[in-house]
Every structure is written in C-alpha cells, then in structure tokens.
C-alpha cells in the first residue's frame, strides 16, 4: 500500500500542479493542460493511430530487428577472431562515434525518402551498440565453459547457440537497450526530415500549422510510446535473462 502511494504520489502531484498552474494560461505556446488533454482525445483517434502511429512503430521494429540480427551475426564473427577484431576495432569505433542522425541525408541519397530509407537509417544507427557489445560479450565468454564445451566435443551450431550466444546475451541485451532509444530518436527524426505519415511527421505538421495543443498532445503520445517500449523491453529482458539475474543474485549473497 505504502509502495503504491510512493509510486503514484509524485506523478499525481506534478500533473495536478501542471493542471492548476496552467489552468488560466493565456500563453499561446503553453496552453492549459485541460486544452491539451481535450486535444489528446480528439486528435489521437483509433483511425489516426492506425494511420500515423502504426507505420512509425512498424518501421521502428523492422529496423531494430534487422539491426539486432546483423549486429549479433557480425559481432560473433569479429568477437571470435582476434585479428579480425584488431583490424575492425578502430573502424567500428569511428562509425559508432558518428552521430546517427547525420546518416539521414546519406541514406536519403541512396534510398530516397520511402520506408526503406527510414528502416535503413534505423539499422545503421542501431547496429553499432549491438555489434560492439556482442564483440565484448563473445570475447568475455567464460574460458572454463569454453574449454569444457571443447572437451565434450560440442562444436558448430550447438556451441554457437548454447555457449557463445548464451554467454554473450547479457551484453547483447545491454547493447539492444541502448539501440532501442537510438531507434526511437531516428524514427522520429527521419519522419521529421522527410515523410508523408508517421508520428514525427504529424507532430511537425502540427507545429508548422501552429496547432499548439495538438502538438503538445503529439509530444505526450511520443513520450508514452517511449515509456511503453522501455517497459516492454524490460519485461522481455527479465524473461530472457532470468538465469543471469538469478546467478548475479546468488553471487552477491555469497
């Protein structure tokens, strides 16, 4: 009971403060919260959600899944070969350091402004944290386990699946978590840059036509999307990595 109160207390206070402080707001840019909430209900109808939010989310997931598959595949190759790793590391560090949004103009040259462009932008932006974390994870696979697997004659796909990927999965998940927040940023920006639908496009459209309460409501929808995705990710993580968190827990107790 006390826990729930603590969790809900401050958010309620903050929203109430926003509601009350902005109640009589005359400012054009900061409309009263009740206006924004009314706009939220009016603007984001199920049709709107299907036409604008769904394409955004699909592009986001498409890019994210592709980036994960590619990043893990390349990361395993690089991580298991010492010389390949030494050769690739500076190049990878450079590509990772490029702020992903500057890739949008580049990808636009190659792929136009369609869905392909947006998915490619997300892939190119997301792949680096996943790839580099996979490399680190594969490198750090427990050498005792590795030797044990070898002496039991476990090789090929079984070794890859049960030893290498399993062992690296905590790191891979860390990379994926970083990649997810980059993916959201890139989804929005690529749509703000050039698009005919999508969440980012709609919000910029509201802003350009000075539909301020609608714009605020779009910002809220985008924020909620970020929160929902991060909650879903954490749920998936705790399922996939339950063995790891359990292991860490027992290690800490001992």
């Amino acid at each position: 009971m006390k826990k729930i109160l603590l969790a809900v207390g401050l958010p309620v206070v903050l929203v109430a403060a926003w509601y009350l402080l902005s109640y009589g707001s005359e400012s054009f840019y900061v409309p009263p919260l009740r206006t924004i909430l009314a706009a939220l209900v009016d603007t984001w109808t199920p049709d709107r959600l299907r036409a604008d939010v769904l394409p955004s989310v699909l592009r986001l997931l498409g890019g994210f899944v592709l980036a994960t598959a590619l990043g893990v595949a390349v990361g395993v190759v690089i991580g298991t070969h010492r010389r390949v790793r030494a050769a690739a590391e500076p190049v990878l560090e450079f590509f990772r350091a490029i702020p992903p949004p500057v890739l949008i103009p580049v990808v636009m040259i190659f792929a136009g402004i369609g869905d392909t462009m947006k998915i490619l932008v997300i892939v190119f932006g997301c792949i680096w944290p996943i790839l580099l974390n996979t490399v680190e994870g594969v490198r750090a696979v427990d050498s005792v386990l590795s030797d044990t697997a070898r002496s039991y004659g476990i090789g090929g796909p079984a070794r890859l699946w049960h030893l290498v990927l399993r062992g690296a999965s905590p790191q891979i998940v860390t990379g994926m978590r970083q990649a997810l927040s980059i993916a959201i940023i890139l989804m929005v920006i690529s749509e703000m840059f050039a698009a005919s639908n999508g969440l980012g496009f709609t919000i910029v459209q509201f802003q350009r036509s000075f539909a301020i309460p609608e714009m605020w409501s779009g910002t809220i929808v985008l924020g909620l999307l970020g929160v929902v995705l991060s909650v879903l990710f954490r749920l998936a993580e705790s399922r996939v990595l339950s063995w790891y968190h359990g292991l860490r827990g027992t290690q800490r107790q001992s």
Binding site: R83, A87, I189, Q207, L222
Partner: protein
C-alpha cells in the same frame, strides 16, 4: 592463449591490424565509386571527400560552425552534469526521497528527447538555446541515474563511522559520498558526453540552429556531396575525440581507484 601470442616478440602488434583496417576502409571508399560499384553521384571517392575536407578546414564558416556545435555540447553537458550531480545527491541522501521520485524518474527518462523538438522550435526558434534544451534533457538522465547508483553504493559502515565521529553533512558528502559516487558519475558523464553530441548535431540538422549539423543540411540541399561527406567525417572524428577525452579524464580522476590501478 591470447597472453602468449601477444608476448612473443615476433607477433605482429595488434595496432598494425587496426591501421590496416582503417587503410582498408579508405581504399574501399576510394575503389567502390571509381569502379562504378556505387555510383559516384551517391558516394564520391575518398580522395574527393578528403580534398573537400581540406577546403572546408580552410574556411572560416567551418570553424564558426564547429565552435557553435562545441559550445552547445559543452554548455549543455555542463548544465546537465551540474543538475544531475546536485539532484542525484539530494535525492540519494534525503531519506524517503528516492522512493518518492523513483516512478517519476523511470517515467520521464525513456521519453525521447526529440519529442521536445517542436517545443524547442516554438520557444527559441533556430537559436542556440534550442540545441541546449535538447542536449540538457537528453544528457541529464544519464548523469542522474549514475549518480543515484553511486550514492546507493556508499558503504554503510563508512557512513556510520563518519557519523559517529561527528562529521557534518558537508564533510560526509565530501569524504564519504563523493569518492564512492565519483566512478559512477564519470561513467555517467562519459555516456552523457556522447549523447550530448548526438543531440547537438540532431538539433542543428533538424531545427537549423547554427553548427555542423546545419552545415550538413545545407551541403545536402545544395547537392555538395563531397562537402557533406567531409562534414560527416568531421562529426565522427569529433565523437572519437570526445570518447577518448572522456576516458582520459576518467583515468586521470580515478587514478587512485581500484578499477584503474588494477589495470595498470
């Protein structure tokens, strides 16, 4: 196995492979457009990009843009780090406050900072402050989360010892809390420095506030591809430098810490 390989004198130093990798990238970027694998109107050869880089570096506009980007980055990072440190210590040190704020922080943190772009445009237009707003929002959470983790890590015995010796709150923060939280804080600052650069460039690219990002957008719309690629290379180098700088800072400030001493 790796240990013996690196210690044999005849083995090729790993750095050579790294240089070879970079050289390979350059050769590839030169060969692909020259051989027509990738159309040169999509990707100019590396030599053209490098000469465009040379031209850019000799113009004053480039350095002004670089300066704008760096100012937005540094000011944003400084504000975010300052606010993150103060709030993190207050939330961590005052009993009950952490439990009361946890849900709010967990909710606000994943909100993508780009959601603030329209708001920044309305409030500040293409001013430097637009970039600042985005940079501060994005990097603040990185610092705050790390400081909170650091404050939580304080050894209760050290804290109680300090209390029973009658140390005041300032001394407890300075000599007990700060050394414990510093490694966490520096990790947060390193992450925040990278995020701040991303958001500074993003704001310039999308909003058009002055800086390298805006220059990239201009080069793209005027179809000056070599210049555009050259500027992108500059942002990448900037990112590398910031990473290296943050790591060096970490090593310097934590020279007393086990994680650095153990590695040396």
């Amino acid at each position: 196995m790796t240990g013996t390989a690196t210690s044999t004198p005849r083995a090729v130093p790993l750095a050579v492979y790294g240089v070879a990798g970079l050289a390979g990238l350059l050769v590839l970027a030169e060969a692909l457009p020259r051989l027509g694998v990738v159309p040169a109107r999509y990707l100019p050869p590396a030599t053209e990009i490098l000469s465009a880089l040379g031209r850019e570096v000799s113009t004053g506009a480039f350095w002004t843009a670089l300066g704008h980007t760096l100012v937005a980055w540094a000011a944003g990072l400084a504000i975010a780090a300052g606010a993150g440190i103060v709030l993190g210590i207050v939330i961590g040190a005052v009993p009950g406050l952490r439990a009361a704020t946890a849900s709010t922080i967990e909710f606000l943190r994943p909100i993508p900072s780009v959601a603030l772009i329209p708001l920044a445009v309305l409030l500040y237009g293409t001013d430097l402050k637009s970039s600042l707003l985005l940079v501060v929002y994005a990097s603040f959470w990185q610092v705050l989360i790390q400081v909170l983790a650091g404050v939580q890590d304080v050894d209760p015995i050290a804290e109680e010892t300090a209390r029973s010796y009658g140390l005041g709150w300032w001394y407890r923060i300075r000599y007990v809390l700060w050394p414990t939280a510093l490694p966490y804080l520096l990790t947060g600052v390193r992450l925040a420095a990278a995020v701040a650069l991303i958001l500074a460039i993003t704001a310039e690219l999308v909003i058009g506030s002055p800086g390298l990002g805006a220059e990239i957008a201009v080069a793209q719309t005027s179809n000056a591809l070599p210049a555009m690629y050259a500027l992108i290379v500059v942002t990448g180098l900037l990112g590398v430098l910031i990473n290296l700088g943050a790591r060096a800072l970490e090593r310097h400030l934590l020279s007393w810490h086990q994680s650095i001493r153990g590695a040396a």
